[in-house]
C-alpha cells in the first residue's frame, strides 16, 4: 500500500481525489495548506505528494521549494492546478516538480500519472 499526501484547499476536489485514489488502494492523507503539509512531511514518509499551487499560508511553489531544499525529500511531486501559465509550470519543474496536471482533470489521467510516478520512484529506489 502506497501513501499519498494530498495538499488541496478545495473540499470538493479533495473529496473527489480521495475517493478516486482510495479505490485504487492508496492511503491518502490530506493537508489543507502548505503549513499543514510541511508538518505531515516532517512526521511521516509518503510515496507521492499531490499539491495545488494556490494554497493558503504557503503556496504550492513554496511548498515544493521547501520540500526539496529544506527537508531534502526526493518524493515525487505531482502538481494539480488550474494555473496554465507556461512560466509558472517551467518554474515548478525547475524547483523539482515531477509532473503537472491541469484542472479540470480527467480522473483516469490522474490515476495513470499517480501510478507511473510511484512506479518510477520504486524503480529508482531499487
Amino acid at each position: 500500500m502506497y501513501s499519498i499526501l494530498l495538499v488541496e484547499d478545495d473540499e470538493f476536489v479533495c473529496k473527489a481525489i480521495e475517493i478516486i485514489l482510495r479505490k485504487q488502494d492508496y492511503i491518502i492523507s490530506i493537508a489543507k495548506n502548505g503549513q499543514d503539509a510541511m508538518q505531515y512531511l516532517r512526521q511521516s514518509k509518503f510515496d507521492l505528494v499531490i499539491t495545488d499551487l494556490m494554497l493558503p499560508y504557503a503556496n504550492g511553489m513554496e511548498l515544493v521549494s521547501k520540500m526539496r531544499n529544506e527537508l531534502h525529500l526526493d518524493v515525487p511531486i505531482l502538481v494539480l492546478s488550474a494555473i496554465t501559465h507556461e512560466k509558472t509550470i517551467t518554474e515548478g519543474f525547475d524547483l523539482g516538480v515531477d509532473d503537472y496536471l491541469k484542472k479540470p482533470f480527467n480522473p483516469s489521467e490522474l490515476a495513470s500519472r499517480v501510478k507511473r510516478l510511484i512506479q518510477q520512484k520504486e524503480k529508482n529506489t531499487i
Partner: protein
C-alpha cells in the same frame, strides 16, 4: 409595565409642546433605531433560513456525491474503451421530484462538470437529460419571469444543453440586458451547429465585458470547427460585433479575413479602425503594410499608434525606414516609444539600423531605444 405606559403617555402628551427641532430629532432617532432593529431581525431570519436550508441539503448532497462518485467518476476509471452505463435506478433514491432537491442535485452536476474532463461532462449531461431534470429549466425559459429565465439559462449553460433554440434566439435580442447577455453566452456555448448565428441580428451593442466573456467561451470551444469570422467584418453589422470578430479572426489566425479587414480601414469609426489595424498586425498581414503607411499622416493618434505596432508585428522590413523616420522626428512620446519598439521587433532585419541609431540618436530618443532593447521590459 404601567410606569412604562405612563411614560409613553407623558411622552405623547408633552411631544406636542417640544420645540420643532427636538420633535424632528425624536422622530429621526425613533426611525433610525426601528430601522436598525428591523434590519437585524431580517438578517437573523434570513441567515437562520439559509442555515436551515443548508442543514436540510447536507444528507442529499452527501448521497448525491456518493452516487456520482460511485457510478460516474469511479466507473470512468475503467478505461477509455469501457462504456459507462448510466444506472438511472440508482439515482431514484434521490427525491428529485422535489424542486429544492432537484436544484441541489443540478448544482452538484454542474460542479462535477466544472471539475472533471474526459467523458465525465458528457455522462453528467446525459444523466441530467435522462433524469428529466431539464424539463423545469425548459419551462422556466418560457415563463417570461426575468429571474427564472436567467437561472434557467445559467443552468442549461452549465449543463451544456441547448433547449428551445428558436425561443433562445429571440432572447438574444431581448430588451432586458441581463437576459440578452446570458442568452448570447448560452447560444455561443451550447449551440452545436450555429452558435454565431445571432451575430447577424445584433441591434444592441455587445458590451466590452460581454465581448470578453464571449471571446473566452468561443476560445474554449473545441467541439466545433470555427467559421470564418470575415463574414461579420462588414459595415452592415453592429460595430461591437465587427470588433469581436476582428479579434476572433486574429486569435484563430484566419488570413482569409484580411481583405475584409482592409476594407474596414475606411470606416469613419476611429475606435473600430484602431482595432482593425491592431488585428491586421496580429494576423501579420503583409499586404496591409503599404496601405497602413499611406494612411498614417491623416490618422488620429490612436490609429497612428496601432499602425506603428502593426508594422512591428508584421516585421517584413519593407517599412523600417518609415519607423526610423517616426522615431527620429515625432514629438509624441508614445509614438516615439512604439516606433522604437517596432524597429526592435524586426530583430535581425534591424540589427544594422539599431547600431546606427544607437550612435546617431541623442537624449530621450536614445533612451527610448535603449529601453525598447531591454528584453525584460514589456509594454
Amino acid at each position: 409595565m404601567s410606569s412604562f405606559r405612563q411614560w409613553l403617555e407623558d411622552l405623547v402628551y408633552y411631544f406636542a409642546y417640544f420645540p420643532l427641532v427636538i420633535q424632528i430629532a425624536i422622530i429621526v432617532s425613533v426611525l433610525a433605531v426601528a430601522g436598525t432593529v428591523l434590519a437585524y431581525i431580517y438578517m437573523i431570519i434570513y441567515r437562520w433560513q439559509k442555515e436551515k436550508q443548508a442543514q436540510k441539503e447536507i444528507p442529499l448532497r452527501e448521497k448525491g456525491d456518493e452516487l456520482l462518485l460511485e457510478h460516474i467518476i469511479y466507473k470512468s476509471l475503467g478505461g477509455a474503451d469501457t462504456p459507462v452505463a448510466l444506472p438511472l435506478e440508482a439515482f431514484s433514491v434521490l427525491p428529485l421530484q422535489k424542486p429544492w432537491a432537484a436544484r441541489v442535485f443540478i448544482s452538484q452536476l454542474i460542479a462535477y462538470r466544472d471539475n472533471f474532463t474526459g467523458d465525465i461532462p458528457l455522462l453528467l449531461r446525459q444523466l441530467y437529460l435522462e433524469l428529466g431534470l431539464h424539463r423545469a429549466a425548459a419551462a422556466a425559459l418560457k415563463s417570461g419571469r426575468r429571474k427564472q429565465v436567467i437561472n434557467a439559462l445559467v443552468e442549461l449553460s452549465g449543463m451544456g444543453v441547448l433547449l428551445e433554440k428558436d425561443h433562445v434566439l429571440t432572447l438574444t435580442q431581448s430588451s432586458d440586458q441581463h437576459i440578452r447577455e446570458m442568452a448570447r453566452c448560452y447560444v455561443v456555448q451550447c449551440s452545436p451547429d450555429a452558435p454565431f448565428e445571432f451575430f447577424s441580428h445584433v441591434q444592441e451593442p455587445l458590451l466590452l465585458w460581454e465581448q470578453f466573456e464571449l471571446f473566452r467561451i468561443i476560445s474554449l470551444r473545441k467541439d466545433i470547427p470555427m467559421p470564418s469570422f470575415a463574414r461579420w467584418i462588414d459595415p452592415q453589422f453592429h460595430p461591437s460585433v465587427i470588433t469581436l470578430c476582428l479579434k476572433l479572426a486574429a486569435y484563430f489566425q484566419q488570413p482569409e479575413a484580411i481583405p475584409a479587414m482592409i476594407r474596414m480601414l475606411h470606416t469613419e469609426d476611429e475606435q473600430l479602425r484602431a482595432v482593425t489595424i491592431n488585428n491586421l498586425g496580429k494576423l501579420m498581414a503583409l499586404e496591409a503594410e503599404p496601405i497602413l503607411v499611406e494612411m498614417y499622416p491623416q490618422q488620429p493618434d490612436s490609429c497612428k499608434l496601432e499602425i506603428l505596432k502593426a508594422l512591428g508585428r508584421i516585421g517584413s522590413g519593407n517599412f523600417i525606414g518609415f519607423l526610423q523616420q517616426q522615431l527620429e522626428h515625432t514629438e509624441d512620446f508614445l509614438l516615439m516609444k512604439h516606433a522604437a519598439h517596432s524597429i526592435v521587433a524586426h530583430k535581425a532585419l534591424a540589427s544594422g539600423l539599431i547600431t546606427q541609431l544607437q550612435h546617431s540618436l541623442t537624449g530621450t530618443r536614445q533612451q527610448v531605444l535603449q529601453h525598447s532593447l531591454n528584453p525584460l521590459i514589456k509594454y
